[in-house]
């Protein structure tokens, strides 16, 4: 490359930038970099905050669970990897107080626990807990409210666990890693790890679980795991991270993350569309200079170098400004959210920056490719014959370059082939349908636009004459509107789903161990106290012992699981809550077989059992299998008659096994129920439960609040993302109208010269843009529906529904917005006087 070429390119860039010739393409690149950077930076920071938040539910970033104590050197090694560590031992044991005893969930925590989240304690049973940084001193135990109730204890009294007596010094309200089971778990007792040995309950054959907690940077954690993995005994040990969290919160966060990813992908596509529009305009505006340069003897190579350099300068400038702007936008959003969503600004993520720069560069280069190739093909003869455009007409290169660019960016960014394919596929579908519609429209327009030349006829004439240009414009409008619709509708559907998960009045108390005799009394008492309580589920505790007479020793109760636990291994041989009913519970859905139709046994002579689908899958239980339960000394044989899907995300009692009632006659159940009590009546709870001292009460208000809080934060973040994408979309629309106005300048000048009134011109431009906006909106609504169907059913695991309202909203809003933008753009041109317009054309 010669010095002259570089000089010329730089000079052209400098002057054109100063004269505002490059504004649109520069804005498009700035916009793409800024929106991608702000969106992905914000979402990474938010995700990190949410992951941090959810890390509280396992009390650490990672947990190593083991059935036996691990080698001390493993922990030492973790420290070498700059990780913080703590540990805790879980086991079950009987707690005694005088003559009373109860099976408890004993947790012996070492200094440092919990690494994430807080332990909350209270001075009175069922009182709201306060966070504490300390742990029980040796000799002391903190116990849950219902243990006070069940053992008839008060603070300062003594309980015995194994060989050791503990003074009950605090009410244990909350531990971070309690899991999301709402009933059925044993009351927790927290002691110091130093006291564990003296209880003598841990020994060979005892069923204790050892948890080792780790926090640190992701890279350190991963590096440590890489070191640790080969040494793990898969039978005994498992490595748990937050993403393994299958709880309602874990799922909500996973969905939100997917949404952010989707929004960022759409922002990339929006950016690409705006760059494509701007590059097209850029190319057209440079036909003359290229023809002049060629006429004056410039070689093709020189022309190429000059313009590639210019695009490079523009891209670099755009990327720099876009990065600064994107960072500022993101910062503003984080400031605006401060207090609602706890997003740390201290974290700097390189990935979003790389992605944003990469997006800007790839979009600018690949989307400029075809317009530039066209530009290079401009004949020098244009200096004599002004009507000559570019000779290159193969749109194949354009489709290949732009399609390839969008798809590879989407794929590279999401790492999710199906998500990228769905969005890309629906985009292609949209483009094809739009091309068909546009040409159909032009045909219709020929009929509609006949008659005396008024604004309406002028609008149609223009649409008809610029068929291909209009098709492209229409497509870019429709794609923009579609992308905005997807982001908007997904947000609405997702938030609605989250809110439905925990509607107002979600039960916040659970009652367990209601005896047959207490039942009528309790119902009457609650009615008297005006507390609604409806379903009472009969429950017996039983062991699941065999499948088809083959012995199993597997945990089968959801409530027995620890969060993030490697399912199907731990908690072997525990008891499950068996219930029976002749009606299917709400939120349960039969996915295979049939619900018990009659009181008759099945063909095999056995009574039926309905099994939750996921546990069936896990334990490899099939329809027709014979399942054996052991209740007390009795054996119950049943046959699997149906599989059920259960929505575990609702705070409702759910069961793995529901047995046909006839199989359970003669067994004396206790009952289980749940009810909602308004916060204002929280103090009534002691009074309400007073007559039923033996009934165990679970207060899950805190859990529900925690869940709601997170859903609210995530929803708020999603709304901000929506606003960001909408803003980006609006800017793209403006750029598109500006670009098309440019093309209309010549026509406006001629119309003005011929004496057309401003009103006529404005009205014709308004009609034209309203028609385009209307059609674009309609097509966007259609392709939005198609995309959403696939997105919701394949990616977000939601029920795909039609959104009829948008078939009306999208065209109307499209017509109004595009029409208004058209008029604004037109108004700008009409302000210039005719001679100025004409001079600009030369």
């Amino acid at each position: 490359m010669t010095k002259q070429t570089l000089n010329l390119a730089w000079r052209l860039f400098k002057h054109e930038a100063k004269r505002g010739e490059l504004t649109i393409i520069l804005l498009a690149i700035i916009l793409s970099v800024a929106s991608v950077l702000s969106l992905s930076l914000f979402s990474e920071r938010l995700q990190s905050a949410l992951t941090d938040k959810s890390a509280e539910f396992i009390a650490a970033d990672r947990v190593l669970k083991s059935r036996k104590p691990v080698d001390e050197s493993w922990i030492e090694k973790a420290k070498e990897f700059n990780l913080n560590t703590a540990n805790q031992v879980y086991t079950r044991s009987m707690a005694f107080s005088g003559d009373n005893m109860m099976l408890v969930d004993l947790r012996a925590a070492a200094e440092g626990y919990p690494l994430k989240g807080t332990v909350k304690v209270a001075e009175q049973p069922f009182a709201p807990g306060q966070a504490t940084n300390s742990l029980p001193a040796p000799g002391n135990a903190w116990i849950e409210s219902r243990l006070f109730q069940n053992l008839g204890l008060s603070l300062g009294q003594v309980i015995e666990v194994g060989d050791k007596a503990f003074t009950v010094s605090k009410v244990l309200s909350e531990v971070p890693d309690a899991g999301f089971s709402v009933f059925g778990g044993d009351p927790k007792v927290l002691i110091s790890e130093q006291d564990l040995a003296s209880t003598n309950i841990i020994g060979p054959g005892s069923r204790a679980s050892f948890s080792y907690f780790f926090t640190g940077s992701d890279s350190d954690l991963d590096a440590y795991y890489d070191w640790l993995m080969p040494q793990l005994d898969k039978e005994l040990q498992s490595w748990v991270s937050v993403s393994d969290d299958d709880s309602a919160i874990g799922r909500s966060i996973a969905k939100a993350e997917q949404y952010f990813l989707l929004a960022s992908l759409l922002a990339i596509v929006l950016a690409a569309v705006s760059i494509a529009v701007a590059a097209q305009r850029y190319s057209q505006r440079h036909y003359d200079p290229v023809a002049i340069m060629k006429t004056l003897g410039a070689s093709k190579k020189m022309v190429q170098q000059v313009y590639l350099l210019q695009i490079t300068f523009i891209t670099l400038l755009g990327i720099v400004i876009g990065t600064v702007l994107g960072f500022l936008i993101q910062q503003i959003v984080v400031w605006a959210l401060a207090g609602s969503v706890d997003v740390s600004l201290d974290v700097w993520f390189w990935r979003p920056l790389i992605i944003a720069v990469f997006t800007g560069a790839i979009c600018a280069m690949l989307f400029s490719l075809y317009p530039l190739l066209k530009l290079f093909s401009v004949s020098p003869l244009r200096v004599l014959r002004r009507d000559l455009g570019a000779s290159l007409s193969s749109r194949f290169i354009q489709f290949l370059a732009s399609g390839g660019a969008i798809f590879s960016l989407m794929w590279a960014y999401s790492g999710d082939l199906s998500l990228s394919a769905i969005l890309f596929g629906s985009g292609i579908l949209l483009v094809i349908s739009l091309l068909l519609v546009t040409f159909g429209l032009i045909w219709v327009g020929r009929k509609l636009g006949q008659g005396k030349m008024g604004a309406w006829q002028l609008a149609w004439a223009r649409i008809r004459r610029r068929a291909m240009d209009n098709a492209i414009q229409l497509i870019s409008f429709a794609v923009t509107i579609m992308l905005l619709l997807i982001v908007l509708v997904m947000r609405n559907d997702m938030i609605a789903q989250w809110q439905n998960q925990l509607p107002q009045g979600t039960p916040n108390y659970f009652l367990v161990n209601i005896t047959e005799q207490q039942l009528p009394e309790l119902k009457a008492h609650f009615a008297e106290e005006k507390v609604d309580i409806e379903h009472f589920y009969p429950v017996v505790r039983g062991r699941f012992v065999a499948i088809n007479d083959e012995k199993v020793s597997t945990a089968v109760s959801k409530e027995d699981e620890e969060p993030g636990e490697d399912r199907g291994r731990e908690g072997l041989g525990r008891e499950a809550n068996l219930t029976w009913s002749d009606t299917l519970q709400p939120e349960n859905e039969i996915v295979a077989g049939e619900w018990f139709e009659s009181g008759e046994p099945l063909a095999s002579g056995l009574y039926g059992v309905s099994v939750e689908a996921r546990i069936a899958d896990r334990l490899n239980i099939k329809l027709g299998d014979k399942l054996t339960f052991n209740v007390g000394s009795e054996i119950i044989n049943t046959q699997v008659s149906s599989l059920r899907e259960v929505n575990w995300q609702t705070m409702q009692p759910n069961f793995f096994f529901v047995i046909q009632p006839q199989a359970m006659t003669g067994y004396l159940p206790t009952y289980l129920s749940s009810f909602y009590l308004d916060k204002s009546r929280k103090s009534d709870i002691t009074e309400l439960m007073k007559p039923f001292a033996s009934v165990t009460l679970f207060d899950v208000d805190a859990r529900i609040e925690q869940l709601r809080g997170i859903v609210q934060q995530v929803s708020l973040a999603v709304e901000f993302i929506l606003v960001l994408v909408l803003a980006a979309g609006a800017l793209v629309l403006i750029a598109q109208v500006q670009a098309s106005m440019d093309e209309r300048q010549q026509e406006l000048a001629i119309l003005r010269t011929l004496g057309a009134k401003g009103r006529l011109i404005r009205a014709s431009v308004l009609f034209e843009f309203v028609i385009i906006g209307l059609v674009a909106g309609l097509m966007a609504a259609f392709s939005n529906e198609v995309s959403l169907f696939f997105l919701q059913s394949q990616i977000f695991e939601m029920e795909a529904v039609l959104h009829w309202e948008y078939w009306f909203i999208a065209p109307v809003v499209g017509a109004i917005v595009v029409g208004a933008l058209g008029i604004i753009g037109c108004w700008r041109l009409l302000r210039l006087n005719t001679s100025h317009l004409l001079r600009q054309m030369v």
């Binding site: 010739e21 002049i292 004056l296 003897g297 410039a298 020098p380 004599l384 600009q840």
Partner: protein, 241 residues
């Protein structure tokens, strides 16, 4: 300097082949100035585009300074234009985003000359716009823009200058000035001038005049008839080629 032999230009239309130029043969000697006159649509500009290597002939041979233009591809023709040809257009064809001086420097830079700026300033002074070098084309009047275009055409001291209706967009006063400037510079630099115009007055300043009529070219003599009402050009025709 220019030699054509039976050059034609045909284009394909929906109605079939259309001959824009019928076989044309003529010669222009070095340093000679010729005017191609004729009505709009007669094929003047097409002939100019072929002579200047902006377009390709359908058949026939063109030699420019002894080089076979008809055998060259676009790249080679561009190189030849850069080395030997200068242009002036009716619509000036200045790059709107470059200043006057930068527009003038453009051919020199394309040719790879190191002293483009110095040459540019010299010739800008010569056309009387030395003080307006930093102005953009749209800040200049039509006459000034054409002066910049003329300066641009002469900066590389081309052997041949093609001018397409150089005064076509100008008023009478400016036309005269441009005419003067063009012919003065042409004379000083011994450039071969091919001028396309429908203005007989302008054409008369050239040594020879060729008339283009419906794709055919003929040699004409333009003489002033001062007998009655002012000047009037009389065309006497003789077939060329």
């Amino acid at each position: 300097m220019i030699k054509t032999s039976a050059i034609t230009k045909t284009v394909t239309t929906s109605q079939g082949e259309l001959a824009i130029l019928k076989p044309i043969s003529f010669e222009v000697k070095a340093g000679e100035s010729i005017a191609i006159v004729g009505a709009s649509g007669s094929g003047k500009s097409t002939l100019l585009s072929l002579l200047a290597g902006l377009d390709e002939v359908s058949s026939g041979d063109i030699y420019l300074d002894g080089q076979a233009l008809h055998e060259m591809n676009e790249e080679q023709r561009a190189q030849l234009r850069g080395e030997k040809v200068g242009f002036i257009f009716q619509s000036f064809m200045l790059v709107q985003s470059l200043t006057a001086i930068e527009n003038i420097m453009l051919p020199a830079e394309i040719a790879g000359l190191d002293n483009a700026k110095q040459l540019g300033q010299e010739i800008l002074d010569k056309v009387g716009l030395g003080h307006r070098g930093d102005h953009y084309p749209n800040q200049l009047s039509g006459g000034e823009q054409q002066r910049v275009a003329i300066a641009r055409a002469f900066i590389t001291k081309p052997k041949i200058l093609f001018a397409d209706e150089p005064t076509g967009n100008l008023d009478a006063a400016n036309s005269d000035k441009i005419e003067q400037l063009l012919f003065d510079l042409n004379r000083d630099s011994h450039t071969t001038l091919v001028l396309v115009t429908h203005d007989n007055e302008l054409a008369k300043h050239c040594q020879r005049q060729l008339l283009m009529n419906a794709g055919e070219l003929s040699e004409v003599t333009l003489s002033d008839d001062n007998a009655s009402s002012g000047q009037k050009s009389v065309i006497s025709q003789s077939q060329v080629g």
